[in-house]
């Protein structure tokens, strides 16, 4: 029961494969994992015109930040758990502090700070370069062992995932 889950470079690579590469929406957004450790994740979304919410200003839509933070929180929760179990977002609250700067890459950092038998608690921040100058912050809760269906195991073969991609 100790938190002896170690993130080796192989682990991080597998995570990138399973949690990002084979998640069609993450790929469509251009999401990648910058870094990760126990209970924490750093994800990034490069600026892209197709993600703009206002043509006049060129500012990225708030929904992109929602999607990035949702994903970052999910990864952080997975990394806080001693084993792979399925998780589902219960709720997510986002506060928008300022518009993203057009042309700049978004970074989302999430930290899962508490895990109970049924629920994981997580908070996150979206920023460009300085975490102390946030674009948005979020808090969320995740249900553990939420679906009867199998979780996305980290040791699943890439071939198997490709099969699901249809």
């Amino acid at each position: 029961m100790t938190n002896d889950f170690q993130l080796t470079p192989e682990n991080i690579q597998m995570m990138k494969d399973v949690l990002i590469e084979h998640v069609p929406h993450a790929r469509a957004l251009g999401l990648t994992i910058l870094d990760a450790k126990h209970g924490e994740s750093w994800l990034t979304v490069p600026y892209d015109k197709k993600l703009v919410g206002n043509l006049e200003t060129g500012v990225i839509h708030g929904g992109v930040i929602t999607a990035m933070l949702d994903n970052a929180c999910g990864v952080a929760v997975q990394l806080a758990l001693p084993e792979r179990i399925s998780i589902a977002t219960l709720d997510l609250r986002i506060d928008y502090m300022k518009p993203a700067t057009p042309g700049e890459t978004l970074v989302g950092h999430a930290h899962c700070y508490k895990v109970t038998r049924n629920i994981a608690f997580v908070r996150g921040t979206a920023y460009h370069t300085d975490p102390l100058d946030p674009i948005a912050t979020c808090v969320g809760t995740f249900m553990l062992g939420a679906n009867r269906a199998a979780p996305m195991p980290l040791d699943v073969s890439v071939d198997l995932l490709k099969k699901f991609e249809g």
């Binding site: 469509a28 703009v52 919410g53 929904g63 977002t89 997510l92």
Partner: protein, 144 residues
């Protein structure tokens, strides 16, 4: 006899939507019946967040609810600039199946600068929503 304009002319929502590239990215369209607006996020493979279940990405669902709220605000308030979200709380109630998602929003309270909006998204059965959100939006910045 002559028609008097009681209300400002309803904005052209499709033109409003066309100015939001991210709405096209999410495949969002509008189904308008009189004063009832239903938003639709047409299913596409790129909206999948869990390929094993399979299920829609929670972030895409959240973004859809945010967009649904913005469209309702544009319709009811007639504002031409896009409302800015201040905060949004999303409750995920069921996993989103790989099919079209529908959304409706209603303005709980509209102030001079801030509006409170509630939005829901569903698929087969409107009584069984996939997700619900409530948010605050800035209608316009304080007078400059």
């Amino acid at each position: 006899m002559s028609e008097t304009l009681k209300n400002p002319p309803a904005p052209d929502l499709n033109a409003f939507l066309a100015a939001i590239p991210y709405a096209q990215f999410l495949n969002i369209s509008i189904d308008q019946k009189g004063n009832e607006i239903t938003t639709v996020m047409r299913f596409e493979h790129k909206l999948i967040g869990n390929p094993v279940l399979p299920a829609l990405h929670g972030g895409a669902i959240g973004a859809f609810l945010e967009m649904t709220s913005i469209i309702q605000l544009a319709f009811e308030t007639g504002i031409t600039s896009i409302p800015k979200p201040i905060g949004l709380t999303i409750d995920y109630l069921r996993s989103g199946k790989p099919q079209d998602l529908y959304g409706r929003a209603h303005i709980t309270k509209q102030g001079r600068r801030v509006a409170t909006v509630h939005a829901e998204a569903w698929q087969d059965d409107r009584a069984k929503p996939v997700a619900a959100a409530h948010g605050h939006f800035l209608l316009k910045a304080a007078e400059e």
